[in-house]
Subunit: 209 residues, 4 copies
Amino acid sequence: MTNRSVIKTGSRRPDARPGEILSAALDLFAERGFAATRMEDVARRAGLSKAGVYLYFPDKTALLKALVNEMAGANVAVARGLVEQHQGAVGPLISTLLVFLARQLRDTRFPELIKVVISESRAYPDVGRIYLEGVISQGLPLFEGLICRGVASGEFREVDAGLAVKAMIAPMLLSAIWKTVMEPLGAEPLDIEALAAQHAETFLRGLAP
Amino acid sequence: MTNRSVIKTGSRRPDARPGEILSAALDLFAERGFAATRMEDVARRAGLSKAGVYLYFPDKTALLKALVNEMAGANVAVARGLVEQHQGAVGPLISTLLVFLARQLRDTRFPELIKVVISESRAYPDVGRIYLEGVISQGLPLFEGLICRGVASGEFREVDAGLAVKAMIAPMLLSAIWKTVMEPLGAEPLDIEALAAQHAETFLRGLAP
Amino acid sequence: MTNRSVIKTGSRRPDARPGEILSAALDLFAERGFAATRMEDVARRAGLSKAGVYLYFPDKTALLKALVNEMAGANVAVARGLVEQHQGAVGPLISTLLVFLARQLRDTRFPELIKVVISESRAYPDVGRIYLEGVISQGLPLFEGLICRGVASGEFREVDAGLAVKAMIAPMLLSAIWKTVMEPLGAEPLDIEALAAQHAETFLRGLAP
Amino acid sequence: MTNRSVIKTGSRRPDARPGEILSAALDLFAERGFAATRMEDVARRAGLSKAGVYLYFPDKTALLKALVNEMAGANVAVARGLVEQHQGAVGPLISTLLVFLARQLRDTRFPELIKVVISESRAYPDVGRIYLEGVISQGLPLFEGLICRGVASGEFREVDAGLAVKAMIAPMLLSAIWKTVMEPLGAEPLDIEALAAQHAETFLRGLAP
DNA sequence: CATGAATGAGGTTTCATTCAT
DNA sequence: AATGAATGAAACCTCATTCAT
C-alpha cells in the first residue's frame, strides 16, 4: 500500500541510486521477507541489473543493515529531541511519545523493518546488533529516564523503571507485529493510534501514586 | 511436553516417533530458525534418517504446523479453563492469567514458537493461519470477554475492550521477542514473571474507574 | 589419449563412486585445467548429477586434494620400497629410479597432476601443501640419502646432496611440463624414458670421483 | 603539423602507460596468479581506471602475451649474443649460460612468468604458443648447437643433443617452479646460483668422453 | 518401517568487458 | 585520453524431496 519504490526512470542522478535500491529492498523484504527476496528482484525493482546492486552494497545483508541503521536512527533522534526539550510533568510527554510512535508505525515501514529484524536476527546477528544498539540501547534508557523522573517527582508511584518501560512500549511492538503478520493473514486491522492513546491513558493512570 | 530431543536408540514405541521428530524440530527451529534448519538435522537429532521424517510428515512446514497446533492448543485450553471456572471480580483473574502466561514463556519454548511463526508466516501463510485461528482468534475474545465483564460490573472504567486486550497481552509478546531475539544478541535477561506482575498491577490500576 | 573415464554404467557398486568421480575429475583437470572444469562436467562424466558429487566430496578442491594424495602416495611408496630393498652401489639404483619415474610419467596421469598442482597451488595452498608434504618432503630426502650414501662410500665425489637431488630429478619435472604444456601446443613429443636413461648416464658419470 | 594537444592529467608520458600497466600486471600475476588477478587490480596498481587498461590492451590475455613476449625475447637475445660471440671450448660457455640463467631466475620475475605460462597455457593457447615460439623454439636449438659443437669437436662424448639440452636446462625450470610454487608453501629456499654451478660441473663432467 | 543414494531447482556472488560522457 | 556506471554470463554450492531396495 505504502509503496514508494521508484520503477520508472533510469536515474539520472547517481547519488540517488543507493536510496532507490534500499527503497526497493525494503518493499520486497516487507512483502516477502528477507530470505525470499532475491537480489535480482531488488535490482529489477530498482531499475538496475543484478550486478549493479553490488556496486553499491557488498552483500544482501548490507541492504538490511543499511535499512535498519537508517530508519532506526531517525526515530530515536526524534524521540530524543522530544524528551530533551520537554519540561514539567512527564505524563503528557509519554502520551506524546506513544502517539508519535504509533503514527510512525502507521505511516512508515517501520513495522516491516521490525519484523524483518526479528526474523533475520538469528541468521544475521549483525542485523540484530545494529537494531539492539541503534534502537533498543538508545530508546529504552531514554524512556527509562522519564519513568524515573516521574517517580522521583512523585508523579508516579514506585515502580521498576526497566520493567515499566517495557510495558509502556509493548503495545507498539504488538502493533508492528499485528500489522505485518496478522493483518496479511486476514486479521482485522488494528487502529494503532487509538491503541496508543488508550494505552497511554491506562498506563499513566496505572502509574499514578 | 518440554521434551528436549531424544537421542538414544531406534525408539521401541513407534507411536513416539512423531513426537520425537517434533521435539527435535522445535529444538532446531528455536536454535537456528526455520529456514536454517535442514530436514537432515531434524532427522539426525530425532535419531532417524532424512527420508524417515517424510514417513511421518509430508513437508517441512508440516512440522511447523504441527508444533504450532500442539502448543497453541494447550495454552489456550488452560486459559479457557481458568476463565470459565472463575467467578467474582475479574481483576485477580487477569493477574493470574498474566502470571500463568509469563511462566509459560519462561519455562517452555512457546517464545521460540511465536518467533518462528512471526518469521515464517509470510512465506507459509498456513502456519500463520493456524496460529491466528488457534491462538489469536481463541485467546483474544476470551480475554476480551473478561474486560467486558469488568466494565459491565463497574470494576473497570469504560474502555475499548479490543484495544485493552492488546495492551494487556503486549508485554507477553514483548517478552517472547526479547527472550528469543534480544537476549541471544547479548541484551540483559528479562524477568518475565516480574514484568507480568508489575504490568498486571499497573494495568488493573489503570482500568480502575 | 590415456582416457580412462567411465561413462556408461549407472554404477551398481556405490563403493566405486568416489573412484569414478576422481577419475572423471582427473580427466577434466588434465584436459582443461582445474579452474575451467565445472563441477557439472565432472558429475556428468562420472554419470552423476551435479549435486551427487557433493555427496562424496565436499568441495571442488577436495577432488584435487584426493587426487594428489592418492597418486602421490603411491609413487613415493614404490620409490621408498626400491630404495629400502637395495644394497650395494647406489648408481644402478638411481638409474632404476629415474627410469621408473620416467615410465610413471609416460604411462600415468602423474604429469597432468603435477601441472595442476603447480597451477593451483597459489589459489589453493592446501593442495600445494599436500603435494609438498606427500611428495617433496618424502621423496627428496629419500634420494638425498642415496647421494649421501654414494658420497660416503666413495662412489661419488663430494657434492652438495640437496642440490644434486634437484639436478637429478629436474629432467623428470621438465618431462612432465613438456608433456602437459608444450606438446599440446604442438611441440614435438619427448621420449621421456630416453631422456631419463641418458640423463642417468650423464648424471652418474658427472658424479664419479 | 603537430599532434593534438595532450591532456595533462595522469601520467606525464603517455608512452609510459603500457609499461606501467604491464609492470602492475606482472606484479599481480606473480603474486596471485593470472586467474585471481582482476583487471581492476591491475588498473588500480597502474594508477588507472579499470576501463583505462582497455585503451592499451584489448584483453586480459593481451597483458600476459605482452609480458611473455617482452621478457622471453630479452633473455633469448642475451643468450644468443653470448653464444654467437663465443669461441673455443663450449664447456665454459655452458657454465656461463647456466649461471646467467640462474641469475635471471633469481633477480627477475622470469620464474613467475614461467609459472603463469605453465598454468594458463591450456586455457589460453596463444600465450603458450608465444612462449613456445619465443623461448623454447629459439633457445633449445641454440643450446643444442652448443652440444653438437662439443660432440663434434670431441669435447663431449656422443649423446643425443636434444635430450642433453633438456637435461641441461631442467634444473633451471625446477628452480623456477621451486621458487614460485614450493617456497610460498614454506619449502626452504633454493640457492639457484649454487644449483646452476654444481649442475654445470656435474653435467659437463658427465659429458666428458 | 527405514534408508542410502540421488537429483532438480535455485540464489548469491564475481568479473571481464562495454559505453556514454 | 579517461572514467564511472553498468551488465551478462557463469559457477559453486545447498536442500527439500523422491525412490528403489
